[in-house]
Symmetry: C3
Subunit: 474 residues, 3 copies
């Protein structure tokens, strides 16, 4: 359905409460944080962008194909992923004109009404590319051309955008087998952008990962450790963590199906590892192994100071047909009900009271905010709450996070915002949304006379800038 | 306690946000949808009303005795169900003057303050019966007489009300043994109201249903199939589905204690069915059987195009004393914590990616909105989210539904409103509440500059009218 | 960081909605309830305060050391409990200058921004002690001196404060072994303050309580019953309940890890009790025993009229290091996911329909409000919902409680507010917060034209005063 062109606005008061008194407060708070540098302590951007500083290809390749928020919504309405040109697991790819894929996306952009994707994308369109018409069937080609043309210019190369976005530091995420060549190349280039890595060892930690045994072999080869021995396996981790730390890492990250941790004796752990290596293990044993490795990671964090992040509660690859065709990360990962109180106890029994250990917890199960996570973070010195994550990284999700963690954890057991994205261009948009929502939350507290405005200013600045730096030791 | 008579208002801005700017937007949006025809794709009205078009008896019989929302609240405050004249399981009924029952209700009407029942009932009182005093002890007789008198007039016969309410189509719900005589009579009568059925086979699907074995016998008799053979049993379903479809059905409905589905081989299914028929099965086997039938129903839906609805997560008849005395549906059904991500996987593994299959999911466990249902509906092409259901069919419940499903599922993986009621007179009230709440939700998005008002108008119209028709293939 | 002194305000409109129209309504409603007497039907104040009427020692001893909300937050940010002077399990105590502890607290008072502790404490500072500067590093000594000096005056003795606070009745909580000497002394003193006890038998009910076997011995000694026989054990309970009732008790209270109840035959119960006494029981058997005792307590309540309270869903002493050093109740108790629908069925099967039995349910799992508790309380005559509890006793928590229980339970299956505190001075603050939030909730209903203002006034008064008296038979 073609419609008359509609203007695209980014209203200066967007996401602030409608009430005039409250909005005025939110505006004043936001003025204090809007221009603070971006600290991005956890995300999935490609360090190769800044190493090579090559131009991005076109609108579709940059904004559509890599964004699982976008293509999962399109797929949910019956749009074939091949029609969007998604790369398949076998390396092939449907022959799709990227302009046609963009048109398909544009025709269906109404599906995103009210979702975070529309907020982020409209911000990118308006602020990064200067577009002033709303995306729809009628403006699709205009968009495609304007974006694709801009991307061929120097001002839209990765390093130029990094500077333009005001990024003070960004963390990428790499597996233990990664030689970190891009990070080395960034360093060698003399460019002054700060891009650090983070240690994410899931593929050598999860025996049920399809790449586990191959990854383990390479883990041994790369470290020169006997990774078939429990002690050698742990030494290999220590070695790679040290290497990652030397490349700027200040954190590790762990994506497990549950938050289970374990506290086995060395003998039990050795025996379990032997079973794992033989490939004759139950699902429970695999979970126990992952849980024991988490506790070992905590022990290593206490030594090397890397901040530990746990992202649990996701059932990966729920849709076997899509997994077979397109592989991982195509939008069929689903949240699970998650327990923390029991699951983390073994780890906390050992390290919960250590003042120098730091564990940042995330969840996809919002029912745990008020019931488990906030009470735990409001007690254990080592625990901090990461921001609303993934499916909950929305305006409503951020409000719920604050409203459900504030009373038991306060603001100061949280770590500020993570954009957690591979969609580089959306990073300013995401931080802007987070800052606006935090200011909106604070404006309510001020308007209801629960805190004074000078306190709210301090909290707003802490959430936007100071806490992420401090929590991640950046 | 007698009090001075109080006026009954239905404020034109009811349920809209208090903030003036937001309220003005809500008002404009509502003006676009207030008069749209009612599409009621799922409910429990009695088709006999429109077949016979007889007068309703009196205020108590029409508004009190059949409304489990009403009598459960009265019961919770110590009021005996016999005092309300509820029919008992043995067919008897306490001898109660309906006027006395009404007075009892009126004296306790304050119990409903803030509940959806008070919204619905006050709407009925004001709009359908033109009452202008609030219901209380003092106005009880005035109410009883005014309503009962009106009901004797032609303007209050079922068909006249159907027309007056602006109902474009309404679906009733019948079991597979129902001969659909009322639906046939409606057709034969030449009346142009559109009343369709829906196929709800629980009594021949749930081996733990107290009527199961008798129902199964009649299922065989009515279809002429050997329903003691798995293949014959499935053929019987196909036959009745075809008959229901010929009587206008566009959907099936399934009320199970969990959302469990199964994907057994034909041999396994046959063996399980044999055990079920012998009556020697565990609770797990009964659940597995129900789950396998759900998957078979999905297969049939793919063939005959009937939209499948799943209403899981209710523990029926929690109160054995009440069940013994009054039978089913007397308000002692209780929500259960419900899993979808694991439970639906067997069915979705088979049919999740089929573009022509459609499964509408409901829940009584709101913690699944953001955690499971919205992420699933925002991925699987076949999945759609039904509206806030039963205990959650309230102003707050509808807000929570939107706020917790919007970010991952958007508006367009939902199906608009279901009134899901046997309280015929409340149908306009219920749709009005739903439209007002959706407009209020949208007014917030507009006021916070998250969508433009022209987009909100389109969404409001889609939710009120287009989506239910499209989702249910009406 | 020293800052310029900042004024401390208690704004008269605090906690009311920002919207002017809604705020005006809230203000009018609050004016109707602000001065009503305090009814405190459940809490943990020390009856010795009113028996002895001695002066409180100093600011730190009164406001910091006993307040687990306060010291858990400080501990979560790495502050040692010894530095606050907390008593240890072995009876010792770090030698800490209470003024230094107070300064440490003051320096970290920003941690409480937005939490209920800051609301309560600022209310106490402003209203009880007349302080007009905000607490921070700069005002710490001023606070310490002002509070400590005031506490030495007669106007700040416990009985004087009781009168000043407008307390009509307060319930303390005692174990069955308590001789209730303080309550007797209060009676004997001729003072007219009403302080009643409540029967909390956990230590003789929970076989996994570290004090169980010793407590059981004393239970036998104090009652003269053979408490090693099931029937004698029950008689001992009946005897102590009668004694508690004679000392003013109108309720019992039960703090269990789950809400499990049981309905064993007498023979089964006897056999289980024998196993418990031998100390050879599984965790399941211990839980079953606790569940059976709950059902026995219900039977006794039906006889003696004591209102039964159930506070389930807390995992006590999660942090073994802190438990070893400081004992119980040092802030390492954590909420658990809690089931009610299945767990309470055995008890409800027996007593759920008894019009004279009354069970007040609490939860630490907010996901049960709308899913289980409200639907249950909106059906069973015996069930009432206690207010938002402990970790959820916050502004947001109270809003969620109302918004998630209103539609299925209404206002009249709830019991008004419990302060549930041992922090005596905060009692007016806590009731004030609860009244303000209830008025704010009601103001929204009025502003959205869902109830009339005269109805809201009646509900506000009922919640603040009438319902707690009625529900607790006070």
């Amino acid at each position: 359905m073609k419609t008359a062109p509609r203007p695209l606005h980014l209203h200066e008061d967007r996401l602030f409460p409608a009430d005039a008194a409250q909005r005025a407060i939110a505006r004043r708070l936001y003025a204090e944080v809007a221009r603070l540098p971006i600290v991005s302590p956890h995300g999935h951007t490609d360090p190769g962008w800044w190493a090579g500083d090559a131009c991005f290809a076109n609108a579709t390749e940059l904004l559509l194909v890599p964004d699982h928020y976008v293509f999962r919504m399109l797929y949910s309405q019956g749009i074939d992923l091949d029609a969007l040109g998604l790369p398949r697991a076998d390396g092939s790819r449907a022959e799709v004109d990227p302009r046609e894929a963009w048109r398909l996306f544009a025709r269906n952009f109404h599906l995103f009404r009210g979702t975070p994707s529309s907020l982020w994308l409209n911000h990118v369109f308006h602020e990064v590319f200067g577009l002033r018409l709303r995306l729809d069937a009628g403006s699709a080609d205009h968009y495609y051309d304007a974006i694709t043309d801009a991307l061929q210019t120097d001002a839209f190369r990765p390093r130029a955008l990094f500077d333009r976005f005001g990024i003070e530091v960004i963390a990428t995420t790499e597996g233990p087998l990664d030689p970190l060549a891009h990070h080395q190349a960034i360093r060698d280039s003399g460019w002054n952008g700060r891009v650090v890595t983070a240690y994410r060892p899931d593929e050598v930690v999860d025996p049920e990962h399809e790449a586990f045994s191959g990854a383990l072999e390479r883990f041994g080869a790369i470290t020169g450790e006997d990774v078939h021995d429990w002690d050698g396996y742990l030494r290999a981790h220590r070695q790679r963590r040290a290497f990652f730390k030397s490349m700027g890492a200040t954190s590790t990250d762990h994506g497990h199906e549950t938050a289970l941790t374990a506290n086995l004796s060395r003998a039990e752990a050795k025996a379990l590892f032997a079973k794992i290596l033989q490939g004759r293990f139950s699902a429970q044993e695999a979970a126990l192994f992952r849980g024991q490795v988490l506790t070992e990671m905590a022990a290593m964090s206490l030594d090397d100071g890397l901040v530990m992040q746990l992202h649990p509660g996701c059932l990966r690859n729920h849709n076997p047909r899509l997994f077979a065709r397109y592989g991982r990360n195509v939008g069929a990962d689903l949240p699970l009900r998650t327990d923390y109180v029991h699951a983390l106890k073994p780890l906390l029994d050992r390290f919960g009271n250590e003042p120098d250990f730091r564990l940042v917890l995330f969840t996809l199960d919002e029912s745990t905010y008020a019931r488990e996570l906030a009470p735990m973070a409001g007690h254990y010195p080592c625990l901090f709450l990461g921001p609303a994550w993934w499916f909950h990284d929305s305006v409503e999700g951020m409000w719920r996070f604050r409203e459900q963690t504030l009373s038991a954890a306060g603001f100061y057991n949280t770590v500020g915002f993570n954009d957690d994205t591979r969609a580089f261009l959306s990073i300013p948009a995401r931080h802007d949304v987070a800052r606006r929502v935090d200011c909106a939350v604070l404006s309510r507290l001020v308007a209801e006379h629960r805190i004074d405005e000078d306190e709210a200013v301090e909290v707003a600045r802490d959430l936007a800038y100071r806490l992420p730096k401090q929590a991640y030791r950046l």
